[in-house]
Structures are given as C-alpha cells and as structure tokens.
Amino acid sequence: MSSNCDKMRDRVADLVTGILPEMEAHALQQHLRECPACRDYSRTLREEDQLLAGFFAQSSADMTSREDSVISTINGLEPSGETNIISVGGMILRSILEKHSAAAAVIVVVTLYFLITWSWISKINRCIELSGENLRSVSVSATMTTPESLGSVAEQIIYGKTYSKT
C-alpha cells in the first residue's frame, strides 16, 4: 500500500457514502482498478454501508406506528386552543410592527385621558371662579350700603318716620 493510498482512503469513504464530487470519483475509480488493497477497503466499506442502510431502514420501518402513537396522545389532550387575554396580548406584542402600533395606541389613549381630565378640571375651576365672583359682588353691594341708610330704613320700618339724607 503506497502513501498515496492513505490519501485515497478518505476519498473511498466519501465515494461509498455518496458525497464524493464526480470529478474526484473518476480519478478514484481509476486508482481502485489498479490497487487491490484499496479495492478491498472499498468493498469492506460498502458492506458496512449496506449494514448501516439496513439498520436505519429497520429503525424507520415502525415510523408510521410511532407517528400514530404521537397523534393519538395529542388527540387525548384537553383542548388547548382557547384564546385568553394573556395569549392574545402575547400575540399582539410579538412583531415589531405590532409593538409600535401598540405603543402608539397607548400614547393616544393616555393623551386623550389627560385631555379629558384637564378639560373637566378646567370647567370645575371656572365654576369655582364664577361662584367666587358672585360672592364678591354681593359683598361689595353690601359694603356700599351706608350704616345711615340702613338705619333710616330700619327706623322707617320700626317707627314709620321718614328721613331724608342730608
């Protein structure tokens, strides 16, 4: 066996496995025709390849029954398709676009809330101011009335006298 055979053995494994590029396969086939040792090695690997193929074919022979077993197990589960708020919320927030939309919606809602609240507070303040103005106008009117005039009115009421203001 030449040193060249050591290099060829990797290619023999690739050839048998079926992953050797076509151009290299032609050169290797030529070498195998000329080298008995590598030819024997190739034959051994082919036997192993058939063993592997048979082994995995046997493993996959029961694939249908395994699949059916999985499906029957899943069919026996309780319904899990109901949507709930948390799962819907999770779905909404999943994509970036949806996240941005959700953020924009939140900002709009918060802004509207503050606008409505502010307008109500403004109205209430305005009412309070108006009430205050009314009270002040009444008190001003009251202060503008002199004690004498109040007294003359009182005497008129009590004694029936009339006074004229001098």
Binding site: D10, A13, D14, V16, T17, G18, I19, D40, Y41, T44, L45, E47, E48, L51, L52, A53, G54, F55, F56, Q58, S59, S60, M63, R66, E67, S69, V70, I71, T73, I74, N75, L77, P79, S80, G81, E82, T83, S87, G90, M91, R94, S95
Partner: protein, 175 residues
Amino acid sequence: MSDFSDDILVAASRRGDKSAYALLVKRHYRHVFAVCLGVLGNVDDAEDISQDAMLKGFLKIRKLRKDEQFDQWILRTAKNLCIDFLRRKKQTRAFLKKQAAGTGRAASENHDLQRAIRNLPQEFRLPLVMYYFDNKDAEAIARKLNISHSGVCQRIRAARKQLHKFLTEGVHDEQ
C-alpha cells in the same frame, strides 16, 4: 389540508387544531426521530424523546416566532430534550472490547453495529444518522443543523472512518 404549507398548519395548530398538528407530525416526526437517534444513539430512548418533543411542540406552539420555520424549531426542541435526558440519566457508556475475527471484515450483527453507532461522538453520529434517514441529502442536513455542506461531509467521513475502526477492531471506552 395535506397540501397546506407548514405556516398554514402552524397557524391552525395555534388555534388548537389537532388535525393540523397531526399533519405536521406526519411531515416532521421522521426527522425528529433521526435527530434523537443521532444524539442519543439508542432507538428506544429516541422513540421516547421524539414523542416528547412532538408533544411539547403542540403544547408550546404559540412560542414559535413568526420568522422561524417549524422544522428548525421542532428539531431544536428535540435536541434540547435529548441533552436534558442525557444530563438526567448521567449516562456512562460501557464499552466492550470485541476482537473482530478475520482481517478487515465488517461485523454482521446489528447489535455490534448499534453499539458501534452509539459509541460514536455525538457530533459525528448525528449527521451520519440524519444522512441515512434523509435519503443521503447532505444539503438538507446542513440546513437543519445550521452548518456548511462541507462541514456535514467532513463529519460523515469521520463517522464512517471511526465506525469502520469500531467494527473491525472493537469498541473502545472513549469517555
């Protein structure tokens, strides 16, 4: 419904449609089993874990991101379950030396072959198993394992060489 794409079946499964998920099982279970067998090296364990993986896939399907493919997601789920299984079991492999009779002749018993496969390093065994389960499609394996095509070929080559060594010289305790 069997002609529907995975995206449509996933959307239906999210709503709890078990028949849609059953079609996903029919499509992908084989690959999940291959990954489990490749990681665990044992058919019985691979059966159990692959079933667990498909079940978990149905229960957690809402966690599948919209930009992620179902097959990649379920294979990753299966692989993680396999790793958890190995960690729990704290498996130690018993290696038996068996002197092969003759020179360079391949072992003819499936038991020896299964043991030889099980004793391959996981990084070699997984692509080898997937290769035989996926009709020898190295490109598909590269995509599922998220490695290059040449990387898949290198690992399969290494697996075949080591397997040959196990079968002709006997299995050695490597770990």
